[in-house]
């Protein structure tokens, strides 16, 4: 008996040992992994400048939308626009999703640096993804079977890529391998010589080689002037017009500091 009491006391003590002060109402964000870097940097900046805590989860655009519909987050980060189905589901729950553009982002189609294919037509990329082209030699590359890498169905990047490159009516080849995030696609392509994948422009580094698409290099300038064909805006959604701290947060991309953060992270400013 004594022991039992001691144990419970110990557990109680332990849990109070780490107690800290409570905080003001914080902002909860959920959603896209592509918007993740921007969201995380904004969060750190916002907490530093206003003292309001911001938490960021990166579970994919689809989950972000679901979270917002269920009232489980203040801001849903999405790398695609909300679908009609999602908007309808939101309306049914009395949630009014309002769209805000955070930044523009090119989707870089990346291959391993050892692959000497450095430029493809958008049709060729489509043929690779629908399984019509299965060997690099068919598009002027080395004789190697193409390892096609896609994202999970929950991904906004996947969604944008499908509508911009593959075409809504076409199914991606069954042999495609699915990775759950930009980072995972990058590390898979960076370690697989015959792979092809696609990632947000902000994620490109020296471990992968971005392809020139239709003769246009993916870069800040080409995304901004609209000449790079595989580009899309990145969104944050709120329930109704934002007020108070959430409004301040949403307006960060229009401030000078916000713009600088976005370009330092490799994304493109809209404003």
């Amino acid at each position: 008996m004594k022991l039992m009491k001691k144990l419970f006391l110990f557990a109680a003590l332990l849990s109070f040992a780490a107690a800290g002060p409570a905080q003001a109402k914080d902002i909860v964000m959920d959603g896209s992994t592509t918007v993740g870097p921007v969201a995380k940097s904004f969060a750190a900046y916002f907490t530093k400048t206003t003292g309001v805590q911001v938490t960021v989860s990166e579970s994919g655009s689809g989950n972000g939308a679901k979270s917002l519909i269920n009232g489980a987050c203040d801001i849903a980060n999405m790398s695609r626009a909300m679908k009609d189905k999602e908007v309808a589901a939101a309306k049914a729950k009395g949630v009014d999703p309002v769209q805000h553009v955070v930044a523009l982002d090119g989707i870089a189609v990346v291959v391993h640096p050892s692959n000497y294919v450095s430029s493809l037509k958008i049709e060729q990329i489509r043929d690779i993804y629908i399984g019509k082209v299965t060997n690099w030699s068919q598009v002027g590359g080395p004789n190697a079977k193409i390892v096609v890498i896609q994202r999970e169905s929950n991904s906004g990047t996947q969604d944008s890529f499908k509508s911009l490159v593959v075409g809504k009516g076409n199914a991606i080849t069954k042999g495609a391998e699915t990775q759950a995030s930009n980072g995972a696609v990058k590390s898979r392509v960076g370690s697989t010589p015959a792979a092809i994948g696609f990632i947000g422009l902000g994620f490109v580094d020296d471990s992968v080689k971005p392809l020139v698409v239709n003769g246009v290099k993916p870069a800040n300038e080409t995304v901004k002037d609209g000449s790079y064909p595989v580009a899309r805006p990145l969104f944050m959604y709120t329930n109704g017009q934002p007020t108070g701290n959430v409004k301040k947060f949403i307006e960060l991309p229009k401030t000078d500091d916000g713009k600088r953060m976005i370009s330092e992270l490799g994304f493109v400013n809209k404003y």
């Binding site: 022991l3 870097p37 995380k40 911001v54 989860s57 269920n70 590390s187």
Partner: protein, 448 residues
């Protein structure tokens, strides 16, 4: 069977047994050693002046006088390097537009790498993101960046039938005969003076919060989050589990209803953890709304349901292993059933119950899937006890996954990932060790 044959069989069986144990130990070493080595590197490494600047600016750690002396010294060596840049810029102004244009992208790259190595160049706008405000904080990373500065990675595409081979060309070739050519040997020779690496014990890795999404700083928020979640799960699951076990062993009749309950419990033990995660999201957050959004409370409840079957089973086993004579003696002396359970059976079964509990605690600390949707976030503040009902929290298991797959700078911060893995493994090992010790102590007490 012949005696000889028997002996041979016996011996070969022993040999197989010993070999398998040795193999298992080796496999464990193969897994543990790299984790340990990588994890220690997060705490003990050659820290550069940039690391010390960051510590002083962000956490107020370090001796400001010593630091300013060191900064003055490194700046002296750095200004030499920056002089090369200025000289080359002046030289470019004197060139015709085309030649200068050819040098420009290469020069931009050089400046970029130098910024990465030493922090913002003089005269440039102070970057707003912390990760770009400092140079390389770790010497081994600085050496990698130095290699990038000295060599351009090229790919040999000459053989069209196979994948290209990687090779390196000195970057200085590009700038041969210009004022910039001297920069490369200078930086190579003087990098130590520019960064002053010294062996650093960074305890802050455990006690500091993370800065700029884990690129700098420590993992305290994650450790604390893991702790809250695991202890919270125990607070719910342990009493429930023990009560259920007492019911099953002492009160339940042997009928259809009880066997249903038992099989339900066994089924629950076999459910994959991601299913618990989704259930937690659907039930605790979306249906009964224990909190507005993800929270430690929702995560703890989900984990509690996940470890409940294990606790029930362990407690049942422990109660059943109490000798019948104890119970009979107690009842024979006239005490009630309740009293017997509380004063005789439970104390005798306690070691087993506690062990089961602590092993479940370790499992709750290490699980990722149940907390993804219910409690874990990639970035968040260290929360206080008052926030557990409303706030989500970073947690080790989730952040290890996040850093390995989703983080935009995953390759840059492998050491943080290793450090987190080491922290998590240490926590689980410590818990299990304490289970063993506690059990030994209680057993001794009960025997005496």
């Amino acid at each position: 069977m012949e005696l000889g044959t028997r002996k041979i069989l016996d011996r070969s069986f022993t040999a197989v047994g010993v070999t398998s144990i040795v193999l298992m130990a080796l496999a464990l070493l193969v897994v543990i050693v790299p984790i340990f080595r990588g994890g220690i590197a997060a705490l003990y490494f050659d820290g550069t002046i940039e690391h010390r600047k960051l510590q002083y600016d962000q956490f107020g750690k370090g001796d400001p006088d010593e630091l300013s002396v060191q900064i003055a010294e490194t700046d002296r060596h750095r200004s030499e390097a920056y002089r090369f840049l200025d000289a080359f810029e002046r030289e470019m102004e004197g060139m015709d537009a085309e030649t200068a244009g050819n040098y420009r992208p290469g020069f931009r790259k050089v400046k970029e790498i130098l910024t990465h190595l030493l922090g913002p160049l003089p005269g440039e706008q102070e970057p707003i993101l912390l990760r770009f405000q400092y140079g390389r904080t770790r010497w081994e990373k600085a050496e990698e960046t130095l290699h990038d500065l000295l060599f351009v990675t090229k790919w040999d595409y000459s053989n069209p039938s196979e994948m290209a081979k990687e090779y390196f060309v000195p970057r200085s070739d590009e700038f041969a005969g210009t004022a910039l050519a001297g920069l490369f040997p200078y930086v190579e020779d003087n990098l130590r003076n520019m960064l002053l690496p010294e062996p650093t014990f960074y305890w802050g890795f455990i006690t500091n919060k993370s800065l700029d999404a884990h690129i700098f700083g420590g993992i305290w928020a994650e450790i604390q989050g893991t702790f809250f979640l695991a202890v919270g799960a125990m607070l719910f699951a342990f009493p429930l589990g023990v009560i259920a076990a007492i019911y099953f062993t002492e009160y339940a009749k042997d009928n259809f209803f009880t066997s249903m309950l038992r099989s339900a419990n066994s089924t629950l033990a076999g459910v994959p953890s991601i299913v618990f995660g989704l259930f937690g999201l659907a039930f605790f957050i979306n249906t009964i709304k224990v909190s507005e959004s993800k929270s430690v409370l929702a995560g703890s409840l989900t984990l509690a349901i996940m470890i409940l079957p294990t606790i029930i089973r362990a407690a049942e086993e422990a109660i059943l292993s109490v000798p019948k004579t104890y119970k009979e003696a107690s009842l024979g002396l006239g005490s009630t059933k309740w009293r017997t359970i509380m004063t005789v059976i439970l104390p005798a079964a306690l070691p087993g119950i506690i062990t089961g509990g602590i092993i479940s605690l370790g499992r709750a600390a290490g699980e990722t899937a149940p907390i993804i949707f219910t409690a874990a976030v990639s970035v968040g503040a260290t929360i206080g006890i008052a926030d557990v009902f409303t706030s989500p929290t970073p947690a080790l298991s989730w952040n290890i996954y996040n850093l390995a797959s989703e983080h935009e700078a995953a390759n840059e911060i492998r050491h943080v990932q290793y450090g987190m893995v080491l922290a998590l493994i240490s926590i689980v090992l410590l818990l299990n060790l304490s289970a063993i010790l506690l059990r030994a102590r209680i057993s001794k007490k009960l025997k005496g």
